[in-house]
Amino acid sequence: MPETHNNDDEVVDYFLQLLSKNEDMSSGIAAIKTLLMVLETSQFHTIHILQKTMLDAVEAMKNRSHLSIAAIASGGELFCRFITLSIGDKPIEECQRIMLDRGNAFLKKLLDSRKCITKLAEKFLKDGCKVLTHSRSRVVLQTMIHAAENNKHFHVYVTEGGKSDDKSGKKMCEELEKAGIECTLILDSAVGYVMESVDFVMVGAEAVVESGGIINRIGSFTTAICAKDMKKPFYVLSESFKFTRLYPLNQRDLSDEYKYPGKDSGKDVSKIHPSVDYTPPAYITLLFTDLGILTPSAVSDELIKLYM
């Protein structure tokens, strides 16, 4: 049996603590930080055990958190993939050290990624434009705040964001107002109504899948369909660690653990509302990532390069 003194509870506690301490942190980053902690504090005898421990930790975070798991899954998978990449024939202690170094370097780059996206996307926010965004996304928020700091004036419509319990849209609105940005909170059902008056839609994503489509807060797909029909550009802002190896073709293809995370998992889902939906690439105009501005078809290229 692998000797690890991190049991799942500890891992999950650490993970949740990270998230609650730092509002701004994305769950993917928190997952990677947690994995780094596991890597640092555990003892391993073989690479195999190390890998298993990591995967177990990812599993634990997925199962126990109340958050949507898409970012945890992609961040975790990317991290596991990356630290074990071409280690070579070295003693296990050295391997662990190399992995730890790599992990920290990786994390450092990821922390910069939001800044990168902000810089790219900011140019699309023109003076006097009207933007629709769905629910709350940290990277969208940061981009808008940054644009406002550079003296751009624009109006943001924010949807309430599906689930009534977390008031994410309201929170987004308050934060935007605090930064001096004009905004209007609208009902999710008013998306069609406001679409004619906005210039474009800008949303975040929980995960970007291989086809170039996104998994995001429920209601994103509705917004995308409306935008497409009214010929408004639909922009997605997403860090590249959210690229996931999934290829859903429709909503049913998304596994239940994505749609019903946390407390809902394992229950009879026929009466529960899903928390995310899948937006196919045909509805997305551009994706802003730390790798540059990508068209949806460029995403699969990136993933193929990585998992070749």
Binding site: K126, I293, L306
Partner: protein
């Protein structure tokens, strides 16, 4: 922002474009010529100095001629060549293991590359022979430029068949050569040319294509939709191709493309590689994108209506990528969704923002 002064050659290029040097090919070959001279004759000690010089002059060019994106494209191309030549020399001197993914940002690199990112490359090191290598590479680009039109028109046979009806708009040099080749090889072609008022360059194209073996029809721009139902293919040129695969093309192209879409007629765009530009259209507002030409052709200045009416004559149209079926470049045919890939091969990500 820039304090650098334009060197004399750059200033004279800007001047000659402003007073009427036309055609993307001549502008880009002039630009290349000029930078070749700079690289060969100016004194620079290392790649960094040279890159700085090229960047400064490139910035001057692009701010003086914001509509002529081919000049900026050429500058980006040259910068990439300097980077590559430098890396190659470094590799030769065994200082650094050259890896293939070096020049592009990728997720793979993001996670495998831990110490040396491309930003850390020190270009200030001196290398013997850099100048010669660079001039060799520039020679290659020059040849590519010279042959690009020929390479495009060589593909005419693949796309145009006998007894087809082709519609085009205005007067593009690439389209002219392409159609000439098609007329040589195919019989019973009908070529419909929308005249592209108010400059009516379509007339010039008609005059140059006129031959006994094909039928040329000139139509006013207003009848594009009416004619489209009998057209087999639309073939147009473009001023430049944007990063998402959209076009900035002569005014009227959107009309043609939209009509073609309506009748499911394939729209083929001839665009040599030097027209691919890594910029995105940030907003659909025209003032950031379009320029206005002389309105005299629309409404004479001394006409009665000119007293009471505003007259505009925009030069460009933005055509979204979904209206384009195929791009034909000197490298072959590409779908609009593939443009990003060509761009990542053509330019270095750090040079996109000049």
């Amino acid at each position: 922002m820039t304090t650098a002064k334009p060197i004399a050659e750059i200033a004279s290029l800007i001047h000659s474009i402003k007073i009427g040097l036309e055609g993307s090919y001549s502008i880009s070959s002039r630009t290349l010529e000029l930078f070749k001279k700079i690289i060969a004759n100016k004194s620079w000690k290392n790649a960094q100095e040279l890159m700085q010089l090229v960047q400064e002059q490139g910035r001057i060019l692009s701010s003086a001629l914001p509509q002529e994106v081919v000049t900026s494209n050429m500058v980006r191309r040259i910068l990439k060549i300097i980077r590559e030549a430098f890396d190659l020399l470094r590799e030769k001197n065994k200082e650094y293991q050259f890896d293939d993914g070096h020049t592009t940002l990728s997720l793979h690199k993001l996670i495998t590359q831990t110490s040396e990112t491309s930003k850390d490359v020190d270009y200030s090191k001196h290398h013997d022979g850099l100048r010669d290598v660079l001039l060799d590479h520039l020679q290659e680009i020059e040849i590519e430029l010279e042959t690009s039109s020929e390479n495009i028109s060589a593909q005419a046979e693949e796309h145009i068949h006998s007894s087809e009806v082709i519609l085009t708009l205005g007067h593009s040099k690439s389209v002219e050569n392409f159609l000439k080749r098609a007329i040589e090889k195919r019989k019973f072609l009908t070529i419909i040319i929308a005249e592209c008022a108010p400059e009516c360059r379509g007339h010039d194209l008609a005059a140059s294509l006129a031959s006994a073996s094909c039928e040329i029809v000139i139509i006013p721009d207003s009848s594009i939709f009416a004619m489209m139902s009998r057209v087999n293919k639309v073939i147009i040129g473009t001023h430049s191709v944007l990063a998402n695969g959209g076009l900035r093309a002569a005014c009227g192209s959107y009309t043609v493309a939209a009509a073609a879409k309506h009748f499911s007629v394939p729209t083929i765009v001839l665009a040599p590689m030097y027209k691919l530009s890594p910029v995105h259209l940030c907003s659909y507002e025209q003032d950031a994108f379009n320029i206005l030409g002389s309105a005299e052709g629309v409404l004479p200045y001394d006409s009665l209506a000119a007293k009471s009416a505003k007259v505009y004559s925009p030069i460009f149209d933005y055509v979204p990528p979904e209206f384009v079926t195929l791009f034909i470049s000197n490298m072959g045919g590409h779908a609009p969704s593939y443009v990003y890939r060509l761009l990542s091969e053509l330019y270095h990500p750090e040079d996109i923002e000049m």
